[in-house]
């Protein structure tokens, strides 16, 4: 998009400010109630800046907001910023809305924005930041962050990434904080999201969302079928669909990828992982909730050295996928052995590249298209992702599986937000079209209560 187009787009949307949601009338959406859910994903921490955090893929939208958001046409509009960045000489100034307070009661200013961006840069999940000078806090206005660049579009696009969502200084993934609709209280087996009255874009309709960690894929379905929870993950019941359950499919919250490392030798070369996963027989993966799967082609055989197929502990869905992949790909002398590791250890190995194979999640960095390539590339190498941002390749297709043919990872499928929910619940789809929006979800009013 040309800069002029961007500016015109911004001018058109400026008046709307942070407004994204429509105004409802009729009966007002009822406030209150609880959503109970059982998920086969880890719940111990949420880090919006972590590109490969599956918990953030599912819940970061509810706890933190980007400074600029994207509308349905992929045009940015101010969400936590007061307005569009102002140019002063060679400096681009971004001013935050006054009065922003985090869910845990911390007043937010430009120091928090500088902290957020520095952290996101360090985590490697925001390649666009690598091309931006480090911002500084304005000496005259604590709400203003100064960027030593005249490229306002670049600043806005960097601040519209989900991985640069504003978090307060001292942010901790185990005590996450932000301006989102809910406050998160993570735990090993249970995550509670509580309505955030300080929410900068509106508190959630629900009082809270209680997420229990499911030990396996069937536990979530069993709980839903037994009316213990409100959402069935990947289905409407284990043995039989729950009566009056409402099916939903809100698209992907991320990709589930197989990444190869240096210990794979020649089998860790770019494109190998994608060739392997494209050969997987789809009928053996259908039950794993991976979204649409391609027609298999090639031979699904691991020829690299035997060793662990790593995945994050506490992730029953990844464990199930890892077991399935290992059973399909392993051959005598070339066994892949599923092995859970802590998130920190996985991160360390991913950054060093010293592993054999790893199954993990990559979050989208924007609407489908170039952003998909940037995200998948950044999961392997954020510098390479920066090259993609600087010199976007001319591709005939941005289908993720074709994008990864030059990367050391292959897209196994999607982390798809799909299943069924109770009839008295209204789950909201994310404004971007992919994933859910728990802040906008609500329970139907109890007539005559």
């Amino acid at each position: 998009m040309r800069r002029r187009d961007l500016l015109l787009g911004m001018a058109a949307t400026l008046a709307s400010g942070w407004l994204g949601a429509p105004a409802f009338a009729l009966g007002r959406i009822p406030v209150g109630g609880r959503l109970a859910i059982s998920l086969p994903w880890p719940l111990a921490s949420i880090d919006p800046a972590d590109l490969c955090d599956p918990t953030a893929a599912l819940f970061a939208h509810a706890i933190a907001d980007p400074v600029y958001a994207l509308d349905a046409a992929n045009e940015p509009y101010p969400a936590l910023a007061l307005d569009y960045p102002q140019l002063a000489g060679q400096t681009t100034k971004v001013k935050l809305r006054p009065g922003l307070v985090s869910a845990r009661g911390k007043a937010l200013d430009a120091r928090d924005l500088v902290f957020t961006l520095e952290r996101a840069r360090r985590m490697g999940g925001a390649p666009r930041l690598l091309d931006l000078p480090t911002p500084t806090v304005d000496r005259h206005d604590p709400l203003v962050a100064n960027f030593a660049t005249t490229d306002r579009e670049q600043v806005v696009r960097a601040l519209a990434l989900p991985t640069t969502a504003l978090v307060p200084r001292g942010f901790s993934p185990t005590q996450p904080d932000g301006t989102g609709a809910m406050r998160a209280e993570p735990g090993t087996d249970r995550l509670v999201l509580v309505r955030n009255p300080n929410a900068a874009r509106g508190a959630s309709f629900l009082d809270d969302v209680v997420v229990q960690r499911a030990p396996d894929l069937s536990a979530s379905l069993r709980a839903f079928e037994a009316n213990s929870t409100d959402v069935g993950w990947l289905g409407a019941g284990l043995h039989a669909p729950r009566p009056q359950a409402v099916p939903f499919d809100f698209g992907k919250a991320g990709w589930i990828v197989l990444q190869t490392g240096s210990e794979a030798g020649a089998w860790g070369a770019p494109g190998v992982a994608q060739r392997l996963v494209e050969a997987l027989p789809s009928e053996r993966l259908q039950h794993l909730g991976l979204g649409p799967l391609p027609v298999p082609r090639g031979e699904a055989v691991w020829g690299g050295p035997p060793g662990p197929l790593l995945y994050e502990e506490g992730s029953a869905q990844l464990a199930e996928i890892a077991r399935t992949l290992a059973s399909i790909l392993s051959r005598p002398g070339h066994e892949l052995l599923p092995e859970p590791l802590s998130r920190a250890e996985l991160q360390r190995k991913r950054q060093s590249g010293t592993f054999l194979a790893m199954l993990h999640v990559v979050r989208p960095l924007g609407p489908s298209g170039l952003a998909s390539l940037v995200a998948l590339t950044a999961a392997v190498d954020s510098r390479a992702a920066l090259d993609v941002v600087r010199r976007p390749p001319r591709l005939s297709s941005f289908e993720p599986r074709s994008l990864t043919r030059m990367l050391r990872l292959g897209v196994v499928g999607e982390l798809r937000v799909t299943g069924a929910h109770a009839a008295e619940l209204r789950l909201a789809r994310a404004a971007s079209g992919d994933g859910w929006d728990l802040g906008a979800s609500h329970r139907l009013p109890r007539k005559g209560a």
């Binding site: 400026l14 008046a15 709307s16 400010g17 942070w18 407004l19 949601a21 429509p22 105004a23 409802f24 009338a25 009729l26 009966g27 007002r28 959406i29 009822p30 406030v31 209150g32 007061l82 809305r97 006054p98 009065g99 922003l100 307070v101 609709a181 309505r195 009255p197 300080n198 929410a199 900068a200 874009r201 509106g202 508190a203 959630s204 309709f205 209204r426 802040g439 906008a440 139907l444 009013p445 109890r446 007539k447 005559g448 209560a449």
Partner: protein, 449 residues
């Protein structure tokens, strides 16, 4: 406040869930009757005129049937006479020559000419000297008036009692397109006291004043929210909004109070929508004035206070039951009394609790848009609302009549398949019922007559 009113207020508060012990002197909305309003304004304008011993009314001029027109003007003459301190009001309407003759013994007399035109009671009062003595009567038999005054007021139940009754038939719908697609509140009134009705639309981006012409909402004045107030640090996800027209007189005209929970503060605007001063909260009509409701994301009920520090003090205790919409209105009864009605909607049940004169009732299935008015000026309030549905296609404009002490009766239900976004009742503008203005989710304004 009379004891009866006071006891009525206490009982009303109890039914609504308000603790009566919370305050000693509950405020009641009041609305002066049309005759009292006219008489007060005439007396103000005629202040300093020679004392008039007699008030004589002229025969009524009207554009609608007035079977008791003579009684009306005589009663009006008595009220005006009382306000002016006149000792006598003639018991029959007289033409001016006959009035001169009838008042010849007084030094001066006031000749009151009333007309009922386009829903207004328009009254002029002329002070005539009575020639004293033979020569004066011979030389100046028909002296010109020495003072003139004019006042008008919209018809109310007291005046309507002298005219032909109005059938509550709402068969005509005028639709007009509006460029504001996000209207969340609406008001209707005579902003510049020129006799013609204006509509004020409050959207999430701007406030507009205009009239319906040729199937379009023709904007005469508009102002962007961004020019009035910054975005609220913690707005509601689903906004609450209010517009209240504070009646005024020529030449200053009316003021318009606007409030929207998206914004940090509301604003009092003049009749051309220029900012006058900030107000705190969402304005809610309160008889002749307004109060402001403040909605906190963490609270289930709003709190009330005067909108501006310059407004008269007002004590309203908090509601104890979950409440989102509160409407408070005062109507003139046939006996010229003021009937205060309180309405509070429980968002969890969709029930609207109504209280007046110590009587209470409940209407089920009420949506988030509620207005109270005396549509047919019979002294019995009508409750106009949207339906408690979450699908626009099921929405409707619903009219109930409620005589305190009895059950509310549904009088009309008009489907609004685009969904109702806002409702306002216009003052009477002719021989029919008061028009109802509806902003729909389809960027239309309907005027239902």
């Amino acid at each position: 406040m009379t004891l009866r009113h006071w006891l009525g207020a206490l009982a009303s508060l109890g039914v609504l869930g308000i603790s009566s012990a919370a305050f000693a002197d509950p405020a009641l909305p009041t609305r002066a009757s049309a005759m009292a309003t006219v008489a007060e304004r005439l007396s103000k304008e005629l202040a300093g005129a020679p004392p008039a011993g007699v008030v004589v009314a002229a025969p009524l001029r009207t554009d609608e049937s007035a079977p008791r027109g003579d009684e009306l003007v005589v009663r009006l003459g008595q009220v005006v006479g009382g306000a002016l301190g006149a000792s006598l009001a003639r018991p029959e309407p007289l033409a001016l020559p006959a009035a001169r003759s009838a008042a010849r013994r007084a030094d001066a007399f006031v000749y009151v000419q009333a007309e009922v035109l386009r829903g207004e009671l328009r009254v002029s009062a002329d002070v005539y000297p009575s020639p004293q003595g033979f020569w004066e009567r011979l030389l100046r038999p028909n002296p010109s008036p020495i003072r003139h005054a004019f006042a008008s007021a919209r018809l109310d139940a007291e005046v309507r009692g002298f005219l032909a009754p109005v059938p509550l038939v709402m068969g005509q719908i005028d639709r007009a397109k509006t460029e504001d697609r996000d209207v969340v509140a609406l008001a209707c009134g005579d902003l510049d006291a020129d006799g013609a009705l204006d509509l004020v639309t409050l959207g999430r981006r701007r406030i507009a004043r205009g009239r319906l012409r040729g199937g379009r909402f023709e904007t005469s004045h508009a102002i962007e929210w961004s020019a009035l107030s910054p975005i609220a640090p913690a707005p509601l996800r689903e906004p609450m909004a209010g517009v209240a027209i504070l009646s005024g007189t020529w030449p200053s005209g009316a003021f318009v109070d606007v409030g929207l929970t998206d914004r940090a503060s509301g604003m009092r605007l003049d009749r051309t929508l220029r900012p006058v001063k900030p107000i705190e909260g969402v304005p809610v009509s309160f008889g002749d004035r307004d109060v402001c409701a403040t909605y906190a994301p963490s609270e289930t009920t709003p709190t009330f206070a005067r909108c501006s520090q310059d407004d008269p003090q007002l004590e309203l205790a908090p509601l104890s039951n979950p409440t989102d919409i509160v409407t408070i209105e005062a109507l003139t009864t046939r006996s010229a009394g003021s009937l205060a009605i309180w309405a509070a909607r429980n968002p969890q049940t969709g029930e609207l609790r109504l209280v007046a004169n110590g009587f209470g009732t409940t209407i089920a299935g009420v949506g988030a848009q509620v207005a109270i008015a005396d549509l047919d000026t019979d002294g019995i309030p009508e409750i106009i609302s949207s339906a408690d549905v979450l699908s626009p296609s099921e929405d409707a404009l619903v009219v109930h009549s409620w005589r305190p002490g009895e059950a509310a009766q549904e009088r009309a239900r008009i489907p609004v398949p685009q969904g109702v976004r806002a409702i306002a009742v216009c003052p009477p503008e002719g021989a029919g019922a008061s028009p109802i203005a509806v902003a729909t989710a389809g960027a239309e304004i309907w005027v239902v007559r």
